[in-house]
Amino acid sequence: MKKLSLMSLLLLVIRRDLVLAMRRRADALTTLIFFVMVVSLFPLGVGPEPEMLRKMASGVVWVAALLSSMLSLGRMFSADYQDGTLEQMLLAPQSLSVLVLGKMLAHWMASGLPLVLLAPVLGLQFGLPPQSLGILMLGLLLGTPVLSMIGAVGAALTLGLRGGGVLVSLLVLPLCIPVLIFGAGAVEAASSGMNYASHLLLLAALMVSALVLTPWVTAQALRISME
């Protein structure tokens, strides 16, 4: 058997997960439609006054992104768990952390990246100025991977449980609150003319720490869940 380098292993796992996601495009699309619907519900609920909408735009888009990410987390490990592939991954001689990192990245590309691309359009719906739209997009670009990665820990802990998506959300949302605070805060700071770089840098720091720490934690969680 050909010996795989870590990078080619990573790319193999990412490609496999993306191919599987493409075969079930409806799953990713429903998450996206949920995102758009939640964002559209807020103006209907609080009234269409433009100034108020512009103020709450970043918060609404971020909360909707958080909720959509929570919804799509169940898909990360459940299919592989049910057909036995996950067990093979745990038994494989390669590093489980690398395999898990590949799954996280593929999940982000299928669920998080579309949110990032769609966010400016929704921001326009709320009347955000172009510079704020750019910072919103950049913040989401840095923040959605963190949501996927921390969510993976929650998904691994609750593998196969009857609690469903709600339990994962209960576990993961408190840990994702800093991402929300800094992401929405960056846009708020930009619209009031203050320095937003610190918020984005903290988001980047969160992403890098998650990138380093969460694959190993998720691997441990998978081993606990798959005894």
């Binding site: 820990v153 339990l167 209960l170 576990l171 408190p174 605070i181 934690v217 606990i224």
Partner: protein
């Protein structure tokens, strides 16, 4: 004579020890509560800035300190259970969680009661209050995760991992008043000295010890129930005098 340091590491032996310790801590808690509340409400002088409203500090500060401390102790026991595969450590972690959640809730509630007369608001989204609220969610998540897994060993391990991951929040709560521009008061008790009247210090210390004794008593009482529930099929449980009357 060699000391067996691990004599009480088994549920069967610890059950008896916990049973003997509970009354001591409960009585100590009651006495310390009475003394602390008396000093806090009647002996300590009126505050120069806040008047009489500050006296809720004698409940708010001890329970807040303990809410963070209990989380760290819980995560510590959970880590012990995960690393050394000991049942009793995980049982202690499970026993600590409800008490910790209660203290966090009381901290948030008394904080709101204190905030209304002094800040003018029941709640503010500043760093310390928000991170304490996150702590409450972390406790509830721990309890929920443990409750939703049927296999007790898998439940122990999964909840332990969650507790350890969440313990990063506790330093954030503690240092939030230094890192952020927040309305919440900074630290009064520092290594360089305490800028508070001596009677207030006495009341605060007494209330802190009272809450600590209460937490220990409740946790030991709860862990006894958990031990009975988890070990119900063992011979030593069936031989217990308190159960023998039930089973006859």
């Amino acid at each position: 004579m060699a000391i067996n340091w691990f004599k009480y590491s088994a549920p069967s032996t610890f059950y008896g020890l916990a049973g003997k310790l509970v009354p001591w801590f409960a009585v100590a808690a009651a006495i310390l509560f009475a003394a602390g509340l008396y000093i806090g409400f009647f002996v300590a002088p009126t505050d120069a800035v806040q008047g009489e409203a500050y006296r809720i500090m004698f409940i708010h500060v001890p329970v807040s300190i303990l809410s963070m401390f209990i989380y760290l102790v819980m995560a510590g026991y959970a880590a012990l259970g995960l690393i050394f595969n000991t049942r009793l450590s995980s049982m202690m972690a499970t026993a600590l969680a409800p008490t910790g959640a209660l203290f966090t809730f009381i901290a948030l509630w008394t904080g709101a009661l204190w905030g209304k007369p002094t800040w003018g608001a029941w709640w503010l989204w500043d760093a310390r209050l928000t991170s304490e609220l996150i702590l409450l969610f972390l406790y509830l998540g721990f309890i929920a995760l443990h409750a939703s897994i049927d296999d007790p060993r898998r439940a122990d391990r999964a909840a332990a991992l969650l507790a350890i991951v969440g313990s990063v929040n506790v330093p954030i709560i503690y240092f939030s008043v230094q890192w952020w521009n927040t309305l919440h008061q900074g630290a009064t008790i520092k290594f360089t000295g305490i800028s508070m009247h001596i009677a207030m210090q006495h009341a605060l210390l007494t209330m802190f010890l009272a809450c600590w004794a209460y937490a220990v008593a409740m946790t030991l009482l709860r862990v006894r129930s958990i031990i009975l529930e988890r070990e119900r099929n063992t011979q030593w449980v069936l031989d217990l005098p308190e159960l023998k009357n039930e089973l006859v």
